[in-house]
Assembly symmetry: C2
């Protein structure tokens, strides 16, 4: 707080479970937080559960329940983050800092009723502001909120990212730092391409396409939230002080730098292709099919529909591996004549805001793949992304070829 | 609920940490709860943290903090009970029962601001009633509440007993069952006297005197709460179905049975005697001394004041072992000339509502001890209790002699 009693610039910092896995790491996170307050910022921290706590709690639930109710699982799992916030606050207080921990309820994080996969509806940040005005560092439990009934809800996988972004939006924070185990967002998976480049800046749309097509560094919903509320993100390593990757509005980036044609190459091997034969070739068949899938929360990725000569439709589409058994049940109920399941596929994608103004990117991609004898089985596009389904064993070759072919390497 | 839509008789059941230490024990508690619902009762359960969870969390806090703040400790420790309620609810649901878990906040347990040793101010049971009306078993986290700020507080040692009694009072429950690892309240410690008798019924005052003079089966504050709100308690074993000990209003007991002269014999070896010499013999000296002790939350038990011939006062009193180092500091500040600390003492007490109408109980007690050559160093009495401080090595002899001498044995 300055002399006028106003709040200084607020920064939200988010640390994942591996960053707070033990006492030593928690102390390091505390040091990191204190450095920021030293730069004259007001700091709000969100943390995940320590290390493998969430997995251990899921296992514990399994010891008394074969089909745990989602409400009680949220009651159980939310304790993991509650332990983390108390531990980090104790570590900060040990270093002489005023600090207070807040659960999702206390931080005013209100969600819908979808236990285990809740969406944040709004944040009432009065308590957070009150604590900041006292000069406290505020440590908030990630991943959790409260519904209109007063029950604890959790936000699903990667929910702590979403908490951090939502808090940053509610506080009108200067930006939101997401600490992770890599230096930032890379042009592709460095495990596949050694010359992968750390990206300095990305637009929200590029980050969304990268996240949804295979990059794992940020949770999709968190990026959507950041885009909607124009929260500047800084993805960086919790192990060093290197500048990471900034994710922000397209225009803000354009003012700063020349944009490359293609920003990143991603791959996703966690997909399976299903072909359904023998559906009547009449309007609404696909709508019925995918409507049922949507009801069962099965996300369809790529779709291709062919009409055979006999007027019988064949539809092929890809879904996540883990949805396969549920999808089989749905298809059985729909009475499809026969289905073919192909688990041996992968999806490779190129993402870049630059392709909107440069035609010919798709044909260049297809050419690069053809030159390596990589057959394209399905294609889907968005204004800033092109994805191809190929044989799984070729996915590393494809990523390497595209990364080098589009001159992303330094 | 009966056909009129009214609630049936409500029973509150409380299970301690050892009763819910693992999955197997949690399933057994679930069976026990279900038996009660089978008897046409509406059941509310309160539970403590599983097994040694609380100790492990205290240890965890110690790994980052040398002097943990009480607020953050309450944030941390309250997760233990939250895990328990989720686990018991999952176990009950697995057995097909409608069940909902509630944290202290959700159950409407409002306390004062004394983190780690909070007192329940009032309970707003709307949510509990709502869930009971739906036909749910309600599982409530013991030991925790919420203050006016919305912060989590804990009730201190034995707090889960207090939660159970307070909930029973708020719901106007028929009675409150406290499950423990013994069959009920005994006339004395069965480890000392083999012929110790399980008591069928006790008045609140007798239970208070027993609890405050060494019996460990029920927490003092819980009994005080029960007395104030006239909550009938049933202390019984979680390992068998034997009738336990009922604790209720004196009149309710008198209507039921002939009362013995002496109900129980207790001992307390966790005391130390301090003698302070060289205080001026003027009015207010003792008040100053014990005022300072009260400020420092040191409870004085027995007190004896002697005036020496020179007009210099010597005061002797007993306190708990763990308060000794703090007491030394207080006495130093007060400038007492010299003090003597005697750790080799014990307190033995007899308790019984019957002694109010039977004079001569004290002299009979002193005679029994004298016959065994047990010297009495300090004496204190209440209308239904007489306590003597003796040498610690004689405490087992004293308990045996009194238990047999007052014909408590069967």
């Amino acid at each position: 707080m300055d002399k006028m009693g106003k709040l200084k610039d607020i920064v939200v910092m988010k640390f994942g479970g591996s960053s707070v896995a033990d006492a030593d790491k928690i102390r390091k996170v505390a040091d990191r937080v204190i450095e920021f307050t030293g730069e004259g910022k007001q700091v709000v921290v969100t943390v995940s559960a320590m290390g493998d706590t969430t997995d251990r709690l899921i296992e514990l639930a399994g010891s008394v329940s074969s089909d745990p109710s989602r409400r009680e699982m949220d009651m159980l799992l939310s304790t993991g983050e509650q332990v983390s916030i108390a531990m980090l606050s104790l570590a900060l207080q040990e270093k002489g800092r005023g600090c207070v921990s807040l659960t999702g309820i206390q931080a005013g994080i209100f969600t819908d009723d979808a236990y285990s996969d809740a969406k944040i509806l709004n944040i009432r940040p009065e308590r957070i502001f009150k604590e900041l005005k006292k000069g406290n560092i505020v440590v908030i439990a990630g991943f959790q909120g409260v519904n209109s009934e007063g029950d604890i809800t959790t936000l699903g996988r990667g929910g702590s990212d979403t908490t951090a972004v939502a808090i940053a939006a509610a506080l009108k924070a200067e930006y939101c730092e997401i600490y992770t185990d890599v230096d930032g967002v890379y042009s592709t998976d460095p495990n596949i391409v050694q010359k992968a480049v750390k990206l300095n800046a990305l637009s929200y749309n590029e980050m969304l396409e990268l996240a949804s097509s295979g990059a794992r560094v940020l949770h999709l919903r968190a990026v959507e939230f950041a885009k909607k509320h124009n929260v500047v993100l800084h993805v960086r390593s919790s192990f060093n002080k290197n500048e990471g990757t900034w994710v922000m509005d397209e225009k803000a980036i354009e003012e700063k730098m020349e944009r490359p044609l293609i920003t990143g190459v991603t791959s996703d091997t966690n997909q399976v292709k299903i072909s359904v034969f023998g559906l009547a070739d009449r309007p609404g068949v696909a709508a019925d099919l995918f409507g049922k899938f949507a009801e069962n929360n099965i996300n369809i990725d790529l779709i291709v529909q062919n009409v055979s000569e006999k007027g019988i439709a064949a539809i092929s589409f890809t879904i996540k591996n883990e949805d396969l058994s549920l999808a089989r049940k749905v298809l059985e109920v729909l009475g499809s004549e026969s289905i073919a399941v192909d688990p041996d596929i992968a999806k490779v994608s190129i993402v870049g805001a630059g392709m909107q103004t440069h035609p010919g990117v798709a044909s260049r991609m297809f050419r690069i793949l053809a030159d390596r004898d990589i057959n394209i089985e399905m294609i889907s596009t968005s204004p800033i992304r092109i994805s191809c389904v190929i044989r799984k064993p070729r996915v590393r070759d494809a990523v390497k070829a595209l990364h080098s072919g589009f001159d992303i390497e330094e």
